[in-house]
Structures are given as C-alpha cells and as structure tokens.
C-alpha cells in the first residue's frame, strides 16, 4: 500500500537530488490523500453552499426560473423590513434570557450536586439530571406544547391551585407566547451546561475546599469566594455557547408557534426559513442569512476577546 521508507529514519543515507525531491513530494501527497475525504465532503457540501449563499444574496432568486442580479436591493429592502427588526428583537430576548437562565439554575444544581458528601447520592443526582438528555429535543418541544395547550397541564395546575384567572391560551396570545417559549424546559437543569459546571467543579483540587471549611465559611461565602471564582472559565464558556446555540436555533419556535401569532415569536433564522421555503424568495432569504451571520460573527469575535483570560486560567 504505502511504500515503506526505512531511509527516512536514517537521513545520512545518500540519495540523488531527484529522488529526495520525489520523496518530499510523496510525503505531501500522502498527507493530502489522508485529507481527501474530508476536503471533498466539506468542499462540496459546506463551502460550495456557503459561497453560494453570499452570491445569491445579490440576486432575485426563486430557485427555479427567476435568477436575476439586483445588486444591493435585497439588503436595502431588508433594512427597511419591519418584520426583520421584530425578529431581531425577539431573538435578543430569547438569547438574553437563555444566557441568564443557563448561568443560574443549572449552576445552582451543579454546586448542589458537587457539595453532596456521599458519592452514591452524588452520582444518583448527576445521572438523573443527565437522563432527560436522551429525549430528542423535538419531543421536549412537543411535550411543552402539550403543557401549554388549552386545558393542558399548566391550565389544570393553575385550576387546581385556584388560580383560574391566570389561565391563558399560552402560545396563542401574542402577550404570552414569547415568554412561554422562554420558559420551556423549566427548571432548565438537565443538559450540557449543568455537566460543564459540574466537570469544572470536580476538577478543582480538594484541598482548596478543606481550607475554606476550616475557616468556618458558610455556604454562601464558600460559593462566592471559592466556587464561583474557580469555575470562571466554565462560566464564560457557557456564556458564549449558550449565546451561539440560542441565536442559531429555531426548531423550538418552528415546532411551538411557527413564529406566530402574527410575527410575535419570529426569529431571524425562522424568517429565513419561511422566506426560503414558504415564499420562495430565496435571494432575500440569503440576504437575511448573510446579515445574521455577520452579526453573529461580530458578537463571537467580541466574546472571544473577552474570553481570553479564561483560556489562560485553564
């Protein structure tokens, strides 16, 4: 298969120059043979569409017979599109609340699990909090749709508590739909962020906590002075990951409200999807994608500057 090259380990063996050149060339070629499958697949299935998306954002395009260059028209229209601004406002709320959520209750649970003395109890809680991750996201969304539906779980719970006046068509009213989506999966503990915190805490040398214990710290002081500073890099990681994840995802909205009622829960990614696949305005949809990509890139770059110290702390 590959020619064995014993002389490679013994560079003192004399070769004529042409032979050496061929050997060097073969080495580069060999590397690219190993890279061929991945380069082919990302080149064809990712970079081609990536470039195509940028190109088509300058076209009026319906995916079939209309494909006309229109310069910056898509972008000027987009910047005057009230629906687009509404979707940006929604995604800001979804992303902001998601980040805050992931920085609180999962952290609380991870610290709680970490502080448990008995190893058995600790691994029980850990497994039980991880277990819900086997349920596909879509099923979680469908389940919450059922919780919010009229006369569903939430309404019955409110009825049982004597709070009938609070009952709403949760996903059907523009006033409640947005916050109903934010509250999906309450109390938000299961999942990767919980595991990230817990892994960070478990990596902290145990002596640090013993010193803290001897100083007679109470739980809150311990949290504030020891645990939080030690998992600072995890906190920053979660901040960035949660931001990127929520900014991109639109499956939750697609399943629960499809952006409605009206445009009250529409997000930019879902707007792109609808423009592309429901209205066949593929050029315009590409322009949405480009603008959102640039926004996302700028945010990530800003966050990366901000995260630098955390990498060094690791």
């Amino acid at each position: 298969m590959f020619k064995a090259a014993p002389s490679k380990s013994y560079p003192s063996v004399r070769m004529n120059p042409g032979d050496a050149l061929r050997r060097r060339g073969w080495k580069h070629l060999k590397a690219y043979l190993f890279l061929a499958p991945i380069l082919l697949s990302i080149g064809l299935f990712k970079y081609t569409p990536f470039v195509h998306a940028f190109v088509q954002s300058f076209y009026e395009w319906n995916g079939a017979n209309v494909d006309r260059f229109i310069g910056l028209d898509n972008f000027t229209n987009l910047f005057q599109d009230q629906t687009f601004y509404a979707s940006l406002k929604n995604i800001a709320l979804f992303t902001g609340s998601f980040v805050v959520i992931q920085l609180t209750l999962p952290l609380l649970a991870a610290i709680g699990v970490f502080r448990l003395r008995q190893a058995g109890l600790q691994s029980f809680f850990k497994s039980m909090f991880v277990l819900p991750m086997v349920v596909p996201h879509i099923i979680v969304f469908l389940l919450w749709k059922w919780i919010y539906v009229g006369d569903g779980l939430l309404d019955r719970l409110l009825g049982a508590l004597g709070l009938e006046s609070w009952i709403h068509a949760w996903l059907g009213e523009s006033g409640t739909a947005l916050w109903s989506i934010v509250f999906i999966n309450f109390p938000w503990v299961s999942g990767i962020y919980f595991l990230i915190y817990l892994a960070g805490l478990l990596a902290v040398p145990q002596e640090l906590f013993e010193v803290g214990g001897m100083d007679g710290m109470n739980g809150l002081q311990r949290l504030w002075h020891i645990e939080l500073p030690l998992i600072r890099s995890q906190l920053r990681l979660v901040l960035i990951l949660a931001f990127i994840q929520q900014f991109q995802s639109f499956e939750n909205v697609l399943v629960l409200t499809n952006g409605g009622p009206g445009f009250s829960t529409l997000t930019p990614a879902l707007y792109l999807y609808k423009k592309g696949f429901e209205y066949n305005e593929l050029g315009y949809a590409s322009a949405i994608g480009v603008v959102v990509f640039v926004v996302l890139l700028l945010c990530t770059l800003a966050a990366n500057r901000f995260i630098k110290p955390a990498d060094q702390a690791e």
Partner: protein
C-alpha cells in the same frame, strides 16, 4: 449548622429534580392511557394500563425508526472515516498548507447551519439526492466532521510517539500504522465522537424536514405527529411513540454512560 445546610441542599436538589422530571413522568403516564382515562385521572396512572398503545405505536413507527438508525449509523461512519484520516494527517505529517487546511476545516464550526440551508438544499436537489438517505447523511456529516477532526487530532497527538516510531522502524507504512496502531489506541475518543454524532443524527429535524417529502426515507422524528389511531387512543399512541423514539438514545446512555457524558461535554466545549 452544617447539618441544616446539607439538608437544605438535598431539599433544593430534590425539588429541582422533581420539576425537571415532571414532564417526562406525565409523558409516560399519559402514554398508557385512553382518552377517557386522561379526562378522569389526569395526574396519576389509571388502570388498566394500555400497553397496547406501545405495540400499536411501534408497528406504525418501525419503518421510520429503521430509517433513523440507518441515517445515524451512516453519519457516524462517515464522520469517523473523515475525521480519523484527517486527524492522522494533521498529527503525523508536516506538509504544505497544513495550517491553512486546518483552519479551513475548523472554521466550519463558525458557519451557522441556517446560513447555508437554502443553497445546500438547492445543491442536493441538483444532485438528485432529495428524498434519499444520502442527503440526510451527507448534509450533517460534513459539518460534524470539523469538530471530530479537532478532537481526534488532539488525541492522536497525545499518543505516545514511541510506539508509532517503533512501527515505522519495523517498516510499517502509514496505512498500517493508522489502521493497526493509531485507531485501536484511540477507542475512547472514537466512541466519544460516535456518541456526539448519534445524538446529532437522531435529533436532526430541520434538514430532514427540508430534504424529504414522502414517507419512504423519513426519520422517526418527523413521523411522530403522523401516528394515527381512533380518537379515543390517539394521544396515548402519540405519547407512546415519543417514548419509543427516545429508547435508542436511552440504550446508548445505559450502555455507554461514560462516553455519553464525555460526548455531551466535549461536544459543548469544542462546538
């Protein structure tokens, strides 16, 4: 004082856990009921338990489960082949354009999937791959290979070079070193990558929604709402379907807990 703290801690954790599990408890309880049982006894299991819901839902969902298994397996295999070959090249060779190539691959992780959704769909349409398994494998596989390459490269670089060099001196070519030494030594990272992609493949929703139309190659996630039955049974049937389609990942969790947990966190940390 300390005692009280511990008890409070346990109480808070238990409360959080109960709240987390309530929807799943309701899912299982409701999946065993007919409609009149849901109306009369909403919160608790009601006798008789209708296990037949599961049998009926399974019969309806089986072809789609099989589709999902094939697609997920396809994604895992493609990603492992792509990423382990690439990881080997990056870890073992120095070659022209090495860092450029690496950045080209890693940068994919910055490209949001919605940006390329439409041109990717057009591409697969032009390739005549709409409504095939291939579309559902190739689309996610290419993007997922990026992170896997990063994980596997790091692992390969950590392998003891002594073994590899010894093999080289013995006269083993790179093909053999890769197959017979590097891969077998890397089972932990390979299984982590496999778990990441099992979760990814099983959870895929938007892409299959876009590239499939008929029932033939649909994954189970898209078929959930099409589970049908008499009005009296349909909700229980659908919920049984939800449970059934979670079972493969549950099995993965039970039999590979360690890889599962490392897969989730590695996926998060690098993705």
């Amino acid at each position: 004082m300390k005692k009280i703290g511990t008890w409070a801690n346990c109480a808070v954790l238990t409360l959080l856990l109960l709240l987390t599990l309530v929807p799943f408890y309701m899912l299982i309880v409701t999946s065993l009921k007919y409609r009149d049982q849901v109306i009369h006894e909403f919160w608790f299991p009601a006798l008789p338990l209708h296990w037949s819901n599961y049998a009926n839902a399974f019969v309806q969902l089986w072809p789609f489960l099989w589709n999902s298994i094939l697609i997920t397996a396809g994604i895992i295999i493609c990603v492992l082949v792509n990423a382990s070959l690439a990881g080997y090249a990056f870890a073992r060779f120095s070659f022209w354009g090495k860092s450029l190539m690496y950045y080209l691959i890693i940068m994919l992780m910055m490209v949001p999937s919605f940006l390329i959704l439409i041109p990717q769909f057009i591409l697969f349409k032009n390739l005549g791959l709409i409504n095939t398994y291939w579309a559902q494998i190739f689309g996610p596989m290419a993007g997922a290979s990026a992170m896997a390459t990063m994980l596997i490269r790091t692992f390969f670089e950590g392998l003891s070079t002594g073994v590899l060099e010894a093999a080289e001196v013995e006269g083993a070519g790179d093909g053999r070193i890769y197959l017979q030494i590097a891969l077998p030594l890397s089972l932990p990272i390979l299984s982590t990558v496999a778990v990441i992609n099992a979760l990814l493949g099983w959870n895929n929703y938007v892409w299959p929604l876009v590239v499939t139309s008929g029932d033939k190659v649909k994954p189970v996630i898209l078929a959930l709402s099409s589970v049908h039955g008499s009005l009296d049974q349909v909700q229980g049937l659908q919920f049984a379907g939800y449970v059934i389609s979670s079972v493969p990942l549950l099995l993965l969790f039970l039999f590979a807990t360690k890889s599962f947990v490392s897969g989730i966190t590695a996926g998060a940390v690098k993705g």
